[in-house]
Symmetry: C2
Subunit: 140 residues, 2 copies
DNA sequence: GTCTCTGCAAAGCATTTGCAACTGC
DNA sequence: GCAGTTGCAAATGCTTTGCAGAGAC
């Protein structure tokens, strides 16, 4: 039968975890994490960052956000919560809304799927981009 | 000042639209659309498919689904509705739940973002994968 | 000592883009 | 006629992977 690999706490893994958790509001991309970790471990490779982020998600230490757009972001808070993403610059912040079990209840019984969870993402413009938007409204 | 390009209805564009709309429950990937369109227009290129899907989204004829996972899917129904995705095989179906304006209202006032919309996606296991799952539960 | 992890570089894969020829309108 | 569009191929950008040596336990 199959045996789960036993994960080790390497220096790389611990620094990566530390960086992702430094400010849970940040929602960094793998590349941003790489740049930050590099200040402490200059020889680390991007591949190692990706591999460790994957492991940390598996260990439920962090959360991977697969929002619209192609780049994954990582959240130092592994608990379920929602996000709001700026459609213009891609910035991601937490949405101050409590998790809603109701949503899944509403679907229950009307689908042939076994429901496991839901993902709710708000879209909008961050304050900075709202301003830019106004200035450009004259176009078209 | 800037002038919007005037789109033309080319043979390629019309066949692509036809295919995406053929069965609005399908949620095809760009590659799947390419394969289908190729039966009618064997010389079409994948790049053309991508470019046209982009234009059709812009014209609000179809909708681009950027769900979890890296592959975009296209929906022949441009109206807002929700989806349920199988976590195992990636299949996407419509979730029979009415659009909820409430969700945005709940966030209103408690964020500095200008809210534009929301995206709700359910995750679960499709009937086929539910079965496989059961059979494998003994592992670990 | 063993089995996981690392750095490096190359590969993978969805998507985008430059370009010259073509075609709706 | 001419701006928008096409096919082709190369490029892009994020992410994954193969490998041999290094390191955790």
């Amino acid at each position: 039968m199959y045996n789960k690999p036993k994960h080790r706490m390497t220096q790389q893994r611990s620094v990566i975890l530390e960086e992702v958790r430094r400010d849970t509001d940040q929602h960094l991309t793998a590349d941003e994490i790489y740049e930050r970790v590099r200040k402490q471990l200059p020889r680390i490779s991007l591949g190692t960052v990706y591999r460790n982020l994957e492991v940390l998600v598996e260990l439920d230490e962090i959360q991977k956000l697969e929002l619209s757009g192609s780049i994954s972001r990582f959240d130092g808070n592994p608990k379920g919560h929602y996000h709001i993403r700026c459609m213009r610059c891609g910035r991601v912040d937490n949405a101050p809304v409590a998790p809603m079990q109701k949503l899944e209840d509403e679907l229950y019984g009307s689908t042939v799927y076994t429901i496991i969870g839901h993902r709710l993402e708000f879209t909008g413009l961050c304050p900075k981009c709202s301003k830019t938007q106004e200035a450009e409204t004259t176009i078209v």
